[in-house]
């Protein structure tokens, strides 16, 4: 791996960490429309669509590699992870479609009125609850990555900053 490649990987991992933190916080806010309000709920989730695409783009190599190897030699954890990611994708799509179809703020404000069916509200609630469970599993499967990356790109730089400040104070 060249120096440029390694720099690019570091930058990509850092971007991924911040995008994931952003998605996680936005998801927690969006999950409670009772508290945050319907307008925030709808606009935030529509904006999350963009961050989800960035999340998938940053994991593109893993997706392609695992798809190729899925029916061949692949570890159990990777296999579970791959299936879980597909479930998240399907559930996320259902969540988004049902949300758009029952939208009361975002779409009407754009002048779009869609026919509402009986099933969509219930499906929206169900897929949201299912997404919560899937997100818990997704987080658990990536826990070591989260800990390592958070420690490397957040905790250590902050600790270094404080250590640098303490050294400066000592030298004065």
């Amino acid at each position: 791996m060249t120096n440029d490649d390694s720099k690019s990987t570091i930058s990509q991992t850092r971007t991924k960490l911040w995008v994931d933190i952003l998605i996680f916080i936005a998801f927690l806010i969006a999950m409670e429309p009772h508290s945050s309000g319907l307008a925030i709920h709808e606009w935030l989730t529509l904006a999350m669509l963009g961050t989800m695409i960035v999340h998938l783009l940053l994991s593109w190599d893993w997706i392609i590699e695992t798809t190729r190897r899925f029916f061949g030699k692949l570890g159990l954890q990777n296999r579970i992870n791959y299936i879980l990611n597909w479930l998240l994708f399907i559930d996320g799509t259902l969540l988004m479609i049902s949300g758009i179809l029952i939208s009361e703020v975002a779409l009407p404000s754009l002048g779009i009125q869609l026919p509402t069916g009986f099933a969509w509200r219930r499906l929206h609630d169900m897929s949201a609850n299912f997404a919560l469970v899937l997100l818990g599993l997704h987080t658990a499967l990536h826990w070591s990555w989260i800990l390592n990356t958070f420690s490397r790109y957040v905790v250590k730089p902050i600790a270094r900053l404080f250590a640098g400040g303490a050294k400066k104070d000592a030298s004065v």
């Binding site: 009772h34 508290s35 695409i53 009361e104 009986f118 469970v133 818990g136 599993l137």
Partner: protein, 100 residues
């Protein structure tokens, strides 16, 4: 691979999955219940109890907001912990040699 092409692949994938789900839900729900358009002049109203959204702007806020998010965070943590324990349990079971 070009980034635009990757984005297109993701969007096409989402459209296919979404279209399939939309088709399944529309077919199954249309056979069970009528459809209506909100604000339509057809005079059809939503059935009682099903479409009354309780989640309107600013109805409740303040202390409830972090509490609800903490509740969701707790659910995510519990699911994660369950996964870890299950993985640990299965790992232990695998490592114990089978008695003859």
């Amino acid at each position: 691979m070009n980034t635009v092409f990757k984005i297109l692949v993701i969007l096409v994938g989402a459209t296919l999955v979404g279209g399939l789900l939309y088709g399944v839900v529309t077919v199954t729900s249309s056979s069970q219940s009528p459809q209506f358009t909100e604000g339509s002049s057809s005079g059809q109203l939503p059935p009682d109890g099903n479409f009354d959204r309780p989640d309107h702007d600013g109805e409740s806020s303040g202390i409830q907001f972090p509490m609800d998010s903490i509740k969701n965070l707790a659910i995510i943590s519990v699911v994660g912990a369950l996964y870890f324990n299950a993985a640990k349990f299965l790992g232990k079971r695998k490592s114990i040699p089978a008695s003859v």
